[in-house]
Every structure is written in structure tokens, then in C-alpha cells.
Amino acid sequence: MALDVVKQLIDIEREGEDLVKKANALAIEIQKTAKEQAEQIIQEAKKKSEEYYVSTLQKYEEEAKVESMPIIENNKKEIERLKNIPEDLLARSVNMVIERIVNSMAIVKMNRLVLAAPIDQRDEILDLLQEKQCVQLIDLKEKFQEVEGVGFFSEAKTLSQTEMDYNHIKFAYEFLKQYDTVKEGLFTKRDILSKKQFDNLESLIDWKDIYFQCKEIEEELNHNKNKKAKMVSLLEQYGQWSSLDVCDDELAKLKNVAYFIGTIGKKYEAQLYETLTEKFKDIYLEKIAEKQQDVNIIILSHIDNKNEIADILKTYGFVRISLELNKTPVKQMEELRLEIDALDSEAEEFKSRASGLAANTKDIEKIYDYILTKVERERAISNLVKTKKSFILEGWITEENKNKLAKAIENRFKDVYFSFEEPVEDENPPIVLKNNVIAEPFEVVTSMYALPTPKEVDPTPLLTPFFLIFFGMMAADIGYGLVLFILTFFALKKMDLEGDLRKIVKLVMYCSIPTIFFGWMYGGFFGGIIPIKPLWIDPVQEPMQVLVASIALGLVHLYVGLGVKAYQLIKSGKILDAFFDVGSWYMLLSGAIWMFLGGGSAAKILAIAGAAIILLTAGRENKSIVGKFFGGVYGLYGVTGYIGDALSYARLLALGLASGLIGWSFNLLIGLFSGPVVYIAGPIIFLAGHTFNLAIGTLGTFVHTSRLQYLEFFGKFYEGGGKTFQPLKISNKFIKVNTEV
């Protein structure tokens, strides 16, 4: 049993061992497969991850490539650009320098301001433009004539009201000026007001009241004057009857007596007396007075003879007295005199009232500017156009003021559209010149002739050095130069000068320096009152040398003028024309001068070549051959013009001589006195004479110097015809408004 058990146990054990073996084998197998599987999985994962890695990498690479392409391209360009920068910089700086030079001697660039805003802001915006004083309005009426939905402002009513105000204030000003005892000196400067003060002027000053008072006084004075005139003429008329000692009252008492008082022609007097005394016995004749052709008489007679006598008198042209005779003439005259006295004292009273009012002149002057400013602003409205709710404005503004104005508009307004545009090709914007400190005053010389058109060169900086030299040569006196310098220097410092006047004074100040210089060269001091050894030459002793120098200078002047013409032609691309019209003249003139100075055949060839070019090309614009030929001949004939031009510079000598010699003659005059008289007459003649010579001489010099610029110089290249820039601004006749703040 046990065996069974043992056997069973052995079997079980064996079975167990087998199982263990099997399990072991299985475990091993499982282990093996798990390993294999894991390896496989790992393998697969590895593979997958590798694949993924590659693909993403590829993807990224591609993306990166796409993205970097433009950057690379850019970089390439940048590198190229950087390579070119040095050349570019050079070109640009050259351009900038040229621009600087051109700008400093030139016409300021203009822009067109276009502005649109709600209609209720119109007046404020105009006020702002007026305050900034930098915009010249353009009349838009014509441009918008045909556009639908666009209207124009027709503010005839308010304008006429303001203009009436202007007339009133003008009247008040002129009226008060007569009675104003405070005389303005040369050195009185204008009051400076802020814009705010200026805007409040009308509320502070009751100018209408002053105006009405002025008006009243004026009317009263006129009334008074008329009345007085009437009285005076009556007085005169009674004066002719002063020996008549009867009056109406007494005559009326006579019942049976007829009387005739009146005037008769002198030539009938005797005849009348004769006729009357012959015909009537009881007649009284009295001659009251005689005046030129007339005789005043009184006739008394019996009343029965009245008609007869009247008839006789009529035939002799008797005219009854027209004056009233309720008192005797003498008495009448007395009364009239009293009345005249009363009128006089009344007039005095009015005048003293006016003088009292004249204390307000300063206020009235301020209001004058205020109202004139208002009138200008209202006149400007007619330049604008409007739609239903907004208005449009266009105006010229200089480029440099553009930003200033833009800022001002943005600061003050919200709903305003504005833009700046460059002028179109053939537009003709107004001209503002801008030059450096030295050339600036000479703009006056240019603008007196004509402002340049936008396409031309501003000739101001070109004429400046010549103007200085020519002025100096013509005035040429150390003393006069010093006086001019001191006078103009103080005028600039002390006087309230503005605009062109200031420029002229400055110009004279600049010109006084070459005047002193040439005075030294010529040895002139107040016409030689103190002998000074000339640095160069005494023009009276050696006029020929000065003449040659003058003409040489003139030729330089002409050459520069021609050069500018060439520059203008080349600038507009007409290089050939520059050669034909300028180069040829350079050749001819230079050749001729060279020949004159003793140049041999080379000079001759140069001159002839120049002449030939002129002859062949001057008529090139003409169509027909004949026209071309005569055009050439005419062109060559222009050489006479050059001779005339060159000789014209002889005035440099002549006026230099004249200014010196006139001064000299006054000194001579002083020298003619002898004894103590010279101490009295001398200073008077010196002062009066030299003041006169300085005034006339400076005027003459200025005019002749300008003439040389206008005819000889401008004639070569300059036409002009630009319009002046006239911005909307605040009237500044009596006050200045400070608009900077």
C-alpha cells in the first residue's frame, strides 16, 4: 500500500519533475521568445524612430531652405549694396553739396497746400494761416467752375461791413493824425503785441466811439468853416457900402420919397448923373463907393418920378443892392465881426477837443492794423470753395514752413484734412528767394528788375560781388564810405526797418566797405580835403588806366553773364546750343581781346573761328536758307552790342571821377575864402556841400550800378517774370504781432 503510495508518489514526483522540466523549458522558451519579441520591438522602434527622425529632419530642412532663401537673397543684395556704398556716398554727398549751394542761392521750393475742413472751422483756420503768415492762397473759383456740388462763398455783406469799418478807422486815423502833437521820431519802434492781445484789441478799445467823435468834430468844423466863409464874404460886401449911413428903418419913414440903392457900371456914371439932373430937379445922388468897374450909388427922388427913374436906371444897367439893409452897413459889419469871432472861438474849441482825442492815436493805429487784417482775411474767403458741409482751400507754402504749419494745424484742429503737393510741371508758383547773409540784401536789386521764373537761376549771388565792386569804384571815397557805414549801421540798429527797406539799408552798408577801399586806392577823402597818397592811382591824373581797368572788369562781368547762359542751356540738355551761342562768343571775344593785346595769328584764328561759328549757326532756328543766312549775319552784328556793353563800363571811371571832383570843388570853394570868414563859411559849405554830394552821389551810384546789372549782365542770360510771394498776413503798419509763441 505504501508502495502504491510510494509508487504513486514517485510517479507524482516524476510527473512533478517533468512538469518542472516542462515549465522550465517553457519558461526558457517563453524567455526566448519574449527576448526575441522585445528585440524585434526594439528593432522596430529603432527603425521607426530612425525613419521619423530622418523624415522630420528632411521636412525641417526643406522648410528652413524655403524660409532662408529670401534671407540669403537679401544678404547677397546687402553685400552687393555694402560693396557699392562708398561710391554711392560720394555721389550723394556731391549731390547734397550741389543742392546746398543751389539752395543757398536760389529760389525756395514751393509746395501746394490742399486743405479741407468743416465749414464752421473756416474762420479759425484762416486765422491760423494769417497768424503763421506763410501761405499764399490760390483762387480756386476757376478750377472748380464746372464741378457739380461745389459752391463759392459769397460773403459780400460781411466784407462790406468790415470794409466800411476800415474806411471809418482810416478816416479816424487821418483825422487824429492832424491833431496829434506827439511826433514819431525816426527811431520809434513799433509796439509788439502777442497774438492774444491782438485778437482782443477790439474789445479793449472802443474805437467806434472815437470814430463818431472824430466824425462829429469834423462835421462841426466843416459847418463852422462854411458859416465863417459866408460871414466873411458878407462882411466884404458890406464893406463896399460902409459909407452908406442910412438903413431901411429910416428910409421907410419917407412917405413921398422913392429911393434907389444899387450898383452901376462906372462908364455910365457921368452919363447917368447928367441925364437925371437934367430931367429931374429934386433929386439926390450920392456916390457911396467905387470898386473896379462898378460904382455904388444911392438916389433919392420924389415918389412920382419913381417909375421914370427906374426906367432910366434900367437902360444904364442899374442893379439893385442885394444885401439887407435893416441896419446900416457899419453896424452890420460890427455884428458880423462879432459873429466871426464867436465862430473862431468855437472852431478853437473843436480843435482842442480833437487834440484831446488825439491822445488815442496809438489805440486807433492798433485798431487800424486789426481791421485791415480782418479785411484781408475776409477778402481771402473768396479764394475758397465749399461743398455742403466743408470747405476746400489751396495755397502755396515754402517747403521749410511745411512742417511748422502741419504741426500747428494738428495741434489746434481735429477734423482737418491737409496734404502738401509738389507743383506740377508748368505751374508757376510764386517766388521766394533765399540767399546767404551777404547776398541777401542784393535780392532787392534782382526783384527791382524782375523775380526769376521757377525754371531760371536766381542771379542774386552772381551779381553780388560785381555790385559791391562797381559801387565801390563809383563812390570811391574813404570819408563818404565811413559816413555811409556809420549812418546805415545805426539805422539798422536803431530803426524799425523791415522788408525791402531793410535790405536796401543793409546793401548800402555792405557797399560802403568797397567805397572805403576804392577811396583808399584812389586816394580820396571827402574829395581830397586831406591829401592821401593813393594806393593805386589818382584817376584824375591817369584816367586812361582806370578806364582800361573798368572795361576789363566789365568784360569779366560779361563773361560771367555768358557763362550763366551756357550753364542754363547745358542744364536743360542743349549742349550744342551752349557751344553755338556762348562758346562761339567766348572764342570771338577772347580772340579779339588777345589780338588787341598783341596776340599774333593764333588770336586772329581764334576770333575768326568764333565769328564763323556765329555766322553759320546764329540763324539755325530759321527755316529758309535765306533766313539762316541773314540770321547769321544779324547774329554777328551783335558784336556791336558787345562793344557798346564793354564801353558802358566806362561809367565806372566817370562816376568815380564825378563823386571825387564834386567834393573837391566844394573844398576848393572853402579855400577861396580868406581871413576869419573861412571859420564861419567853411564848415557850412563843407557840411552842406558834402551832404549834398553824398546824397546825389549815392543815388547816382546805386542807379548806375543797377543799370550795369540789368542791361549788360542780365541781358546775357536773364529774363525773369516770376510772381512775388504774397502770403496772407497780419497787417503791420503800426504794430508788430509776435506770432512765434
Binding site: 558802358s648 561809367r651 566817370a654 571821377l657 546825389i696 543815388l699 543797377s706 543799370r707
Partner: protein, 167 residues
């Protein structure tokens, strides 16, 4: 006892200064007369303008003085002659032929001065019209008048050069 002087003697003795002074006198005379007339012409037409527009006085005065320069040129010519012949130093010693030369030298200034001053006066008087109607173009009127002056200037130079070269 009387010393007989023939005309020829007189001429040789005093003729030089006489002729020279005659020249000086002619230059001052004619140029002066011309300027007086020229200035007068402008003054007349300027008065009409001033009656209407008194503010233009200053500018009209500029036009008026323009024809006045010829008188001065004549005066200068005369003075140079007088100085050259020694009138001021009191030692007038100049031979007859030089006297004649100086007389001839004074002629350009005398004649041109006379007629150019009148012509300039007329041009300046017309300039007054410009001043009246287009005051901004006033300076053009001045230029027109100054154009005439060129010839007076040339005459002055001619006279002076001749005088200076003679004595």
C-alpha cells in the same frame, strides 16, 4: 605915351587863358542849361502827380535829379580846365595853341551835356507816368532815363581825357 598893341600881340599874350576859360565856360554853360531844363521838365510833370498822390514825392524826386548830373559833369570839366591852367594857383601861363586845344576838349561835354540832359528830362518825365500808374515798375522808368546818361558819361570821359592829355 601909349604903347600900341596889335590884336595879334594881344592874342598871343592873353589868348591861351582866354580860350581855355572860354572852353570851361562853355562846358559849364551848356551842360548847366541843359540840366536846368531837364530837371525843370521832370519837375513840371511830377507836380501833377503829387497833387493826386503826395506820398510819391520821394520817388518822383529820384526821377527829377537824374537829368541834373550833366550840369555837374559840365562843372567838373570846367573845374579841371581851370585847375590845369593854374587859375587857382594864380599863375596862368598857357600858350595860345593849348588854349585852343582846351577849348576843343570842352566841346563834347558842352554839347552832349546840353542835349542829353534835355532828352533825359523828357525820358524821366515819362517815367513819372509809370510812377503814377504802376508804381511797382517805377525803377524801370529810372532805367530808361539812365540809358540816356550813358552818352553824357562818354562825353565827360572824352573831354577829361583830352584835357588831361593836353596839359
Amino acid at each position: 605915351m601909349d604903347v600900341k598893341i596889335t590884336f595879334i600881340d594881344f592874342l598871343t599874350k592873353f589868348g591861351g587863358p582866354i580860350m581855355a576859360i572860354l572852353g570851361a565856360a562853355l562846358a559849364a554853360l551848356f551842360a548847366g542849361i541843359g540840366s536846368a531844363r531837364g530837371v525843370g521838365i521832370v519837375g513840371e510833370s511830377a507836380s501833377g502827380l503829387i497833387a493826386e498822390d503826395p506820398e510819391k514825392f520821394g520817388k518822383s524826386l529820384i526821377l527829377q535829379v537824374l537829368p541834373g548830373t550833366q550840369g555837374f559833369y559840365g562843372f567838373i570839366t570846367a573845374l579841371i580846365i581851370l585847375q590845369r591852367i593854374g587859375l587857382f594857383s594864380g599863375n596862368m601861363n598857357i600858350p595860345l595853341e593849348k588854349g585852343f586845344l582846351l577849348l576843343a576838349a570842352a566841346l563834347p561835354m558842352a554839347f552832349v551835356g546840353y542835349s542829353s540832359a534835355i532828352a533825359q528830362g523828357k525820358a524821366a518825365a515819362a517815367g513819372i507816368q509809370i510812377l503814377a500808374k504802376k508804381p511797382e515798375k517805377f525803377f524801370n522808368g529810372v532805367i530808361y532815363a539812365v540809358m540816356v546818361e550813358t552818352y553824357a558819361v562818354i562825353a565827360l570821359i572824352t573831354s577829361i581825357i583830352m584835357i588831361v592829355k593836353v596839359v
